[in-house]
């Protein structure tokens, strides 16, 4: 029944934001942020179980936690940046949203550097062995 609660909260927030946007646009943005935070907190406990399943699956595959941790951080950065950018767009600040996305892309690329280097070294090793 969690999904009913989530949908109900979402619908109520949508209606309220729609009413407030014409009267008090600044309060509408705050309500949007509050609704997002509430929805996130509702599913926060379930995220832990998903991460546990992924960790267990990677342990079964024998995949190093170094790379899995990097992937998890990248997914987290993407989500947070996406939420922030959407809130900014809802508030009519598309330029700020674009900058948030740009910063998130840079952070993702920085985190991905070890993986890219590892791929490069693996391929070079592969080509060296083949040659």
């Amino acid at each position: 029944m969690d999904v009913l609660q989530i949908v109900a909260i979402g619908l109520m927030a949508t209606v309220l934001i729609g009413v407030l946007r014409s009267q008090r646009p600044e309060l509408a943005v705050l309500l949007s942020v509050a609704a997002g935070v509430i929805l996130f907190l509702l599913v926060l406990g379930k995220i832990g179980s998903i991460v546990g399943i992924i960790t267990d699956l990677s342990a079964r595959a024998g995949i190093s936690m170094v790379y899995l941790g990097t992937i998890m951080k990248i997914i987290g950065i993407a989500y947070i940046a996406e939420f922030g950018a959407q809130i900014c767009r809802d508030a009519g600040e598309g330029a700020v949203a674009t900058k948030i996305e740009f910063a998130a892309k840079i952070l993702i690329m920085v985190l991905a550097v070890p993986i890219v280097v590892a791929v490069l070294q693996s391929l070079l090793k592969l080509l060296g062995e083949a040659g």
């Binding site: 399943i53 024998g62 959407q86 590892a118 062995e129």
Partner: protein, 210 residues
């Protein structure tokens, strides 16, 4: 066959994990970036899983496939640990052998009552690569003062009058630093016994006069 089965098993789990992670991705513009990074991870996981069969070394990067699931990739560590254990056991064996020889030499030299031996040290060849591995390099005897030729006894315990010792000067190389303290003949006898018993050269037996 077992290796290929493990490889296919690892690849299947890696692909399932990638698909599972892809479901978690955000829907917006960030999705393409995260998908690219995950694709790179899958590539490196597959390459390393295949490379571990061909015994390529990936020491310069953290291993994606740690080998926790099927035991692959642990062979160099096991071999290295085995070499360390073997070297340690060999070291302990050499030390035990050296101590046993020292006890044997002590028992031999104590047969001669004229020469009070305080300490015996035996050095053996401990490098396994050399041809004379385990052979005696030298025997070092620490000789104390002969109690019969030592200083005067306490007055209360004196039973007979002191007799002036007769010293025989022998110009041999084995003349001790304290000619009056020990009998050179006894020293020569001990050296002869040790050289004959262990088949070593007289130069390998060193006497230290304490």
């Amino acid at each position: 066959m077992e290796i290929i089965r493990n490889l296919v098993q690892s690849l299947v789990i890696i692909i399932i994990l990638a698909m599972f992670l892809e479901m978690l991705l955000p829907a917006g513009e960030m999705r393409t970036y995260v998908k690219m990074i995950m694709g790179l991870l899958v590539i490196i996981a597959v390459v390393q899983a295949v490379g571990s069969i061909a015994r390529w070394s990936f020491e310069e990067m953290p291993a994606v496939v740690t080998g926790a699931g099927d035991g692959r990739g642990q062979l160099p560590e096991i071999l290295e640990t085995g070499r360390k254990i073997s070297a340690r056991q060999q070291e302990l064996g050499i030390e035990q052998y050296r101590q046993g020889l020292a006890r044997q030499v002590t028992a031999l030299v104590n047969l001669n009552q004229e020469l009070p031996v305080l300490d015996v040290e035996v050095n053996v060849e401990s490098e396994s690569g050399k041809p004379g591995f385990g052979q005696i390099k030298e025997i070092i005897l620490t000789v104390g003062e002969n109690p019969e030729q030592a200083g005067p006894e306490p007055e209360g315990e004196k039973l007979v009058d002191n007799v002036t010792p007769v010293t025989v000067q022998v110009g041999s190389p084995g003349t001790p630093d304290k000619p009056g303290a020990v009998n050179p003949k006894a020293v020569a006898g001990i050296v002869g016994v040790l050289t004959n018993f262990y088949n070593i050269k007289p130069e390998q037996v060193k006497i230290i006069y304490n």
